[in-house]
């Protein structure tokens, strides 16, 4: 007890005395660091800033030459236009946003529901030609989506999935599944199989053991994987523009792209729609950032 009191007393002044020596060099470096990072951030974030500015400018300010960075009239008209149609009802863009939420959410859930058990099976069981199977699964992601979009278009026309939300959900789930399996397999490998063995000896079946012991330990991994899948589905453009045509089915990316062209382009509306489109993913990624980092650095540390 006495020792810890002594320590508590002595560390206080020591903390004030010694660090300044170190801090001086540290401060010089950090000023430079902050300056560099600020410049970098401004350069990187300028398009985003410009998008946000444009979304709250009136149309004549958008086209002003020289461009106005400050001192323009702020308006929320464009954001209103994103959600409310010219006839006062729901706008086509707002329908597209709802479609995006539905398609991205459902395809992520589907990919996770299929991918997590598959990853568990590949991690736990001796499967014939396991490596070849896993390689095959990964190989479906080797080519860019645009390569297969025409065959898929033809197949979808045959089975009647063209221009349907179900069609998009299925193709996104299929596209996310390899990624989900590979990433989740890494997480399952990290959970010792002995938990399940012990639970099975304690009276549970294999599936119960998985559900009660392994699954709870996998939650951070599932969150990270699902976020990646969600971001992919949310941002996906190529399949969406080829496989859907009607406003009631279209997701946000092709709908926003559809605003450009024609006789005039309402840049304020494009910018406002883009802000609305970017926000959910940004907020969501911010909320689960710890899990995202866990996913990115997976396997970097060997035990």
């Amino acid at each position: 007890m006495a020792v810890s009191v002594d320590e508590a007393v002595s560390t206080g002044p020591a903390r004030d005395r010694t660090p300044p020596v170190r801090r001086r060099s540290g401060r010089g470096r950090s000023v430079l660091e902050v300056a560099l990072l600020t410049v970098l951030a401004v350069v990187m974030l300028f398009p985003v800033l410009w998008m946000i500015e444009t979304s709250i400018k009136e149309n004549r300010d958008v086209y002003a030459v020289p461009a106005e960075f400050i001192g323009f009239t702020v308006t929320m008209e464009h954001f209103k236009d994103v959600f409310v149609g010219p006839d006062g009802g729901r706008s086509a863009l707002s329908v597209a946003f709802l479609n995006s939420v539905l398609v991205a959410g459902a395809s992520t859930v589907l990919a996770t529901l299929l991918g997590v058990p598959a990853a568990w099976a590949y991690s736990r069981f001796a499967v014939k030609a396991k490596k070849d199977q896993l390689f095959f699964i990964l190989s479906t992601r080797f080519m860019p989506p645009v390569v297969v979009v025409i065959p898929i278009f033809l197949m979808y026309r045959q089975v009647g999935l063209i221009d349907s939300k179900l069609g998009l959900i299925l193709i996104y789930a299929a596209y996310n599944l390899p990624f989900t399996i590979w990433m989740m397999k890494g997480f399952v490998d990290e959970v010792p199989a002995e938990y399940e063995d012990a639970a099975m000896l304690d009276g549970y079946t294999r599936l119960q053991a998985f559900r009660r012991y392994t699954l709870p330990l996998l939650v951070p991994g599932i969150a990270a994987t699902a976020v990646f899948a969600l971001i992919f589905s949310w941002n996906e453009f190529v399949f969406a523009i080829f496989l859907t045509s009607s406003d009631s089915v279209r997701t946000a990316p092709p709908a926003i792209a559809g605003l450009i062209g024609g006789t005039t382009t309402d840049w304020g509306l494009v910018a406002a729609a883009s802000v609305v489109f970017a926000l959910p993913v940004l907020v969501f990624a911010y909320l689960v950032r710890k899990h995202l980092i866990a996913g990115v650095t997976l396997g970097a540390v060997r035990r």
Partner: protein, 355 residues
Amino acid sequence: MAGIEVTALHKRYPDGTVAVEQVDLSIGHGELFVMLGPSGCGKTTTLRAIAGLERQTTGDIRIGDTLVNDLPPAERDIAMVFQFYALYPHLKTRDNLAFPLRAEGLPKSEVLKRVDEAARLMRLGPLMDRRPRQLSGGEQQRVALARALVRRPRAFLMDEPLTNLDAELRADMRTEIKHLQGELGATMVYVTHDQVEAMSLGHRIAILNKGRVEQIGTPLEVYDRPASLFCAAFIGSPPMNLIEVEVADGALRAQGGLALTPPPGLSRDCHLVAGVRPEALEVTAPGAERSVPARVVSAEWLGDEIIYVVDHGGQHDVRVRMPPTVRFAADAQVGLRHTGGTPVVYDVSTEELVA
């Protein structure tokens, strides 16, 4: 408690690897039976097959009088202790212990009683409200043992339970396990690759190699008469000297002149190897009675003994265990003398004990 019978066990994985070629074991009621072997010898697979965590390709497993081939692990009434403890990370010690009992659906009072009993037996009192993360390796393993105990299973299976502990703790836990097993009269199957553990714990030891049983015997039998060249080279530290010999003039004669007493009933025409423990040889002053001339290649000073590596003109140098008082420098000319009784003799072509 019950005995365990393993008959003609064979395990082949879907990818074609054979983990267990053929294993037959008859483990008695209340016996501490050790399976010893290098990694990949099939000992853990055999244990997991007994537990029901792996399904054998062919062969039968009986626990007591029950044929358990098709029973899931939960219905075999056995407990297992794992190398990595496998304590549920989100449960406190108390709940980890109670867990298997609650899974069985025992009444609350009975659960409490059994948990207290196991906690007392393993001296877990101050650890009961901690989670595994807050326990040291040794403490975790004691909790894992206690969790196996509360079930009062028909048999205990131990999969290298001490491998992850440091040397001192390992020795303590060894004593504890042996004591516990004796007190409970429990049937225990213990898998290890550590021969010291096997020798000090086991009532009987099975030595496995490449999915087959090489020898089953008491620690002394296994040490004194290894059944095969593999066992001879595996048991003992340093292991047995294997010296190529020929039968001539009523003795086993090695290159370099060393002569050993032949066991009775040797056939003349086979190619033989004599197994001589390092303590059955002696380094003497050069020219001592019954010694052959030799040279010290190196000496390991271990404090309580010295291991001399000696070149006696044979095909391989031999190792000799000497008390620390007998000192020779490296490269010294010495004598080498056989002081033990009749050596064990192996046939090189079959690698098995002939006499």
